[in-house]
């Protein structure tokens, strides 16, 4: 058994799948970055805001001044292009990972699971010999060239994709999703105007079918992808599933990224033929290649296995950290992020903030729009850690305006999966005295689940 596993990990596999993956990832990241700039989001998300919501422990991460943020995105675009071309590959992968992660850490308003996915993928890419085949680096330095490498390199990517799907499926195993078809019961009827399927979307049973299909799909698809027998029908499902999500939800590039990157599960022959086709596009006739095996040094192998072990242990544990917290996970969102909880809830809120002069008890109702972008205000209203961040900002701001000993209190009315809105925090808590931390936020008013 152990020998079998060892053989599975170390058997020689062709590098074509990794080369295709590298190119696909690079091109998709280039397009995503250009799309992000073209949509004006560099300005609305990183230049315009007056304050940013940092992640706990990363408060020291700040955006660059003004238009320099465009330079940051320019670097991302160039690094993505270099990854696609396989030019200065390792340096480009490191650069892309660092810069992309830096951008994501600036403001948790913009947190998306798919950005987290990209951070992780670009991190893993750093350690892969994806540039040793069909790349400009090989053209530049012939000695890099290899056709084969141990299987564990590709497995790194495949396991990560496995985890994304499987945990997304696991997160759907809950009563709201399976027994009440929430939030799809809300989201699908909103598209009743769609041609042909529109009238179906308003029917309750359709929301149930979608919910169950989505859950089973996420749980099963990663197993199917690993099986050579089922890969083709599985991939058809992947395409259908992600195109459906892109039709119904405003999720940008993510469906296309998943569809493209999941192709890594196809056989090496599929990828070799794909590369041959690309070469013939450039009118290059294919020379017969000798089989050259990239054999990493024992130290590299050791380091790689350690990385493999630590990374996947964390990946498996992090989504379960919510178990350490009291209260309803969707309500408190303690341990919610970084867990592949995708499209799980319809949550919205309105937060009123008041700055209170301690000595007189008199209050100022804050105009949130004076300080926050619409997106920040929307995200802040439903996420307790952001309420605390904002309260600290307001305390400083109003102290500067001459309020002595300001207390910052809030009333945030939040609705979750169709339940009547109720208070997440009331005016009894001085939020500016609370600290953002990994501890349970005791001031959150428990979710009344009835």
């Amino acid at each position: 058994m152990i020998n079998n596993i060892k053989t599975y990990f170390t058997k020689s596999v062709h590098l074509a799948p990794l080369a295709i993956f590298r190119m696909a990832f690079g091109i998709l990241m280039l397009l995503s970055t250009l799309r992000f700039i073209a949509k004006g989001w560099v300005y609305t998300m990183y230049i315009k805001p007056k304050l940013f919501f940092p992640y706990y422990g990363f408060e020291w991460i700040k955006p660059l001044e003004g238009n320099l943020m465009y330079v940051v995105f320019g670097i991302l675009a160039i690094a993505a292009l270099c990854i696609a071309l396989g030019l200065f590959y390792r340096a480009s992968a490191i650069l892309f990972f660092l810069v992309f992660t830096y951008v994501e850490l600036i403001d948790k308003t913009n947190y998306l699971n798919h950005y987290y996915f990209i951070s992780i993928m670009s991190f893993l890419l750093i350690f892969l010999p994806a540039h040793r085949y069909f790349s400009l680096d090989v053209y530049r330095k012939k000695e890099l060239f290899a056709t084969n490498a141990p299987n564990y390199f590709i497995l790194l990517i495949k396991f990560q994709v496995f985890i994304v799907y499987f945990f997304a499926g696991l997160a759907k195993v809950n009563s709201d999703w399976l027994l009440h078809a929430q939030p799809l019961k809300i989201w699908l009827p909103a598209h009743s105007e769609m041609p042909i399927i529109g009238s179906l979307l308003t029917q309750q049973w359709v929301a149930f079918v979608f919910s169950w299909f989505g859950c089973i799909y996420d749980l099963v698809i990663p197993f199917l992808l690993f099986s050579p027998r089922f890969i083709k029908p599985a991939y058809v499902l992947v395409i259908i599933f992600h195109l459906a999500t892109s039709l119904f939800f405003n999720i940008g590039m993510f469906p296309y990224i998943m569809i493209t990157l999941t192709a890594i599960f196809f056989t090496e022959n599929f990828h070799i033929q794909l590369i041959n086709k690309i070469e013939s596009l450039f009118k290059r006739s294919k020379k017969t290649e000798p089989m050259i095996y990239y054999n990493p040094s024992p130290l590299t192998v050791k380091l790689f296995y350690s990385l493999f072990f630590i990374h996947f242990t964390l990946q498996i544990l992090i989504p379960f950290r919510y178990l350490f917290y009291d209260g309803n996970l969707y309500w408190t969102e303690q341990g919610y992020r970084f867990s592949w909880r995708v499209m799980l809830m319809e949550k919205a809120g309105t937060a009123f903030f008041y700055v209170r002069e301690k000595n007189t008890g008199k209050e100022i109702e804050v105009s949130n729009s004076d300080y926050l972008t619409p997106m920040q205000e929307k995200m802040m209203a439903t996420q307790p850690d952001m309420l605390v961040n904002y309260a600290h900002f307001l305390k400083d701001e109003f102290q500067k305006k001459g309020i002595v000993n300001p207390e910052v209190v809030s009333e945030s009315y939040v609705t979750l999966n169709g339940k009547a809105s109720c208070l997440m925090v009331d005016k009894k808590t001085d939020l500016s005295k609370e600290e953002d931390s990994f501890k349970t936020k005791k001031w959150i008013i428990p979710f009344n689940n009835n």
Binding site: T44, P189, I364
Partner: protein, 373 residues
């Protein structure tokens, strides 16, 4: 491999089984939802939005005539008629300010028509120099209804003194010219809005039946929320001192100089918001609206329906607002509790309309574009 296949089959089986059970149950309890979204949009454009613009225009034009009469024959009696028509026009403007999307957004209606408190220093300086460009940003707080309010009523001066300012004062001609410029700008803007709506925007509006950012429903609900926020803050909260440690700011009331219409402007604004919610025209004809949409989706709110909760809250706010006396600028200092009670209920209404309703409808109302996941 076989094991995995077995697991998959088992999972699918359980899934389908449970699903069939659910299906039966839900079909009995919740028959198919059918709602005519595009019918709702055309009700809005034909019976609510377009007529409201026309009503606002009629009132504004009628004020223009009365004002011209007053300039023709400068008597206190004519001044009073002009003021009365002005009050009416300001009131009917409340019926159109909500719809700031499409052509109305192009004309930046709220900022151009109703930025208050008005800047009397800037107005006086414009009048005395006689050279000004109202489309410049620095003149935004020196034009529109609030500027005319200031000029037609004056600050704590008698009717006779106002008459003098338009009649024998050194700047009388310039003052008259200034009122006409403010009035003319609003008329021009309103005319172009109405023609743009009729020419093409109505079709654009009716055709955009989706629920995404920038869809007609998204725009309408977003502006509805903006409007109720305006009542809560601009019309009531700010004068009441909600942003200033409880220190009332009477001079920040809408129509501060007219003194008698601030509360009624807020009431008209609220009733327009209610009409929009109900899909009801100003004549009272109740067509398809957000209330019907919520009913069709059977949206619950605690033990009742969300629609009932919202309608109920509208009536509560109306009752509380009816208790507030004119002038509002006096009530915010002399009758704080009454004004505050109306404010508190407005906040509750705002939460229902801004949080519960869009969430239940799956409507994206944030102006700012971005991806979700």
């Amino acid at each position: 491999m076989k094991k995995i296949t077995l697991i998959i089959i088992a999972l699918l089986f359980i899934g389908i089984l449970t699903d069939c059970k659910k299906k039966k149950k839900s079909e009995e309890e919740d028959p198919e939802i059918s709602f005519d979204k595009s019918g709702m949009l055309s009700n809005y454009s034909n019976n609510v939005i377009a007529p409201n613009f026309t009503v606002a225009k009629t009132a504004l034009d009628s004020f223009a005539l009365a004002y011209a009469d007053f300039i023709q024959t400068k008597t206190v009696a004519n001044l009073l008629v002009a003021r009365q028509k002005f009050n009416r026009a300001y009131n009917q403007y409340q019926l159109m300010s909500l719809f700031e999307f499409g052509p109305s957004e192009t004309e930046i209606v709220r900022a151009n028509f109703d930025t208050y408190p008005t800047d009397s220093v800037q107005i006086k300086s414009n009048i005395s120099t006689g050279t000004y460009n109202l489309s410049q940003v620095n003149n935004i707080p020196a034009k529109g209804f609030p500027a005319i309010d200031y000029l037609l009523y004056g600050h704590n001066i008698s009717d006779a003194s106002v008459l003098t300012l338009f009649d024998t004062d050194a700047n009388a001609a310039n003052r008259n010219g200034y009122v006409n410029s403010c009035l003319g700008e609003m008329q021009t803007k309103l005319n172009s809005i109405i023609s743009a709506w009729n020419a093409s925007y109505k079709n654009t509006f009716n055709a955009s039946t989706g629920s995404e950012i920038g869809s007609s429903l998204g725009l309408l609900i977003n502006q509805l929320n903006y409007e109720i926020d305006l009542i809560k803050n601009g019309k009531i909260g700010i004068p009441l001192g909600k942003k200033t440690l409880g220190v009332a700011l009477p001079e920040k009331c809408e129509a501060y100089y007219a003194k008698t219409i601030s509360v009624s402007l807020a009431k008209t604004c609220l009733s327009n918001i209610e009409n929009v919610y109900l899909g009801r025209s100003i004549n009272g004809a109740d067509g398809l609206g957000l209330d019907d949409y919520l009913e069709a989706l059977k949206v619950q709110h605690n033990s009742g329906t969300l629609n009932d909760a919202i309608k109920n809250q509208f009536s509560i706010v109306k009752v509380k607002l009816a208790l507030v006396n004119e002038p509002l600028s006096v009530s915010v200092t002399n009758d704080i509790a009454t004004v505050d009670a109306a404010y508190v209920e407005l906040v509750k209404l705002l939460v229902l309309l801004k949080t519960d309703m869009p969430s239940a409808l799956g409507i994206v109302i944030t102006y700012q574009d971005g991806d979700g996941d």
